[in-house]
Symmetry: C2
Subunit: 184 residues, 2 copies
């Protein structure tokens, strides 16, 4: 969910597993550049919605998988930005998936986004709720409910967050060999 | 989700806050007894589905709220078994709600249900996935995504679980006065 800190957690996992992060948002952004679409977040969200409406709920996952193959990435790959179980299926049809969810309470996420204050971040609780609803409509709640690893990022220091992630990821990957792939 | 350990966590919260647990499942069971419906879990799940189909997604929440009022419960009440944001709304229209989610990975939940081995617990991974899908269709993923407190119940001892719950609940309730209500 927005403001949970999933990008920070992706980077931490990347450094722990020495694996690359592929951001589904970046894959959408690349496609937008190719089509000459402006790259502010509002246009990006609209473009991603359009893609999903026109080509199916899993189209961005499919684009991301093509991107991974094109770059010749093998071993563990961290995928940042999964939104639905339809997207999970695209990756799990290709390789082993470990779902890592990052949770923070709505209150914490709202305060975090407010203090980040990017141009597109919500300016009010109502705006925040509308953005949350949009994420939930994709089906992200189902992915969170079925997560293999749950990271709670509630007012922790970066150091404590890192320790928690390290402990849980090492535990989860003790069962998975290095040919497998991971989604976050 | 089934096997996450939400009933154990409800009981722990109950002892910490000295507040009563009202189980939405028990409210359904009571209604089933009134109507002479058998009380095995399969019949109970069917009956609950029928109630929701015939009287709306929030009917069991409304029945639970009536039950709470009838019993004259005031102050904090722990509600065990919320399945959707429609149900959350029934309670939040009545009082302040703190959503507590209990998470465990599918692998852990499956092993827990298998070792519990109640007559109605899943006998195979496929049966387990079907039951999970049913829960997700209610919209429980959205409730988990918007939880105010996330308890991770992944192979912890009861003592460690209790400490985590105690810490997080006390933190969450330091912002909430005693006239408010809580859902789990």
């Amino acid at each position: 969910m927005p403001g949970s800190g999933k990008s920070v957690v992706s980077r931490i996992i990347s450094s722990i597993l020495n694996a690359e992060v592929v951001s589904m948002g970046d894959v959408v952004r690349e496609e937008a550049i190719r089509r000459g679409i402006p790259q502010d977040t509002v246009s990006m969200i609209k473009f991603a919605e359009e893609l999903r409406r026109n080509y199916g709920k899993d189209v961005i996952a499919k684009m991301t998988l093509r991107h991974i193959k094109r770059r010749g990435l093998t071993g563990i790959v961290i995928i940042d930005g999964i939104r639905s179980l339809n997207e999970v299926k695209v990756f799990s049809d290709y390789g082993k998936v470990v779902i890592v969810a990052v949770h923070a309470s709505p209150k914490t996420r709202y305060e975090r986004l407010r203090s980040r204050g990017r141009k597109d971040d919500p300016r009010s609780w109502d705006e925040f709720k509308i953005r949350d609803d949009k994420e939930l409509r994709f089906g992200i709640g189902n992915v969170i409910a079925l997560a293999d690893v749950m990271i709670v990022n509630e007012g922790k220091s970066l150091e404590d967050l890192r320790s928690e992630v390290e402990f849980k990821i090492k535990e989860a990957f003790s069962h998975v060999d290095n040919q497998d792939r991971s989604g976050s």
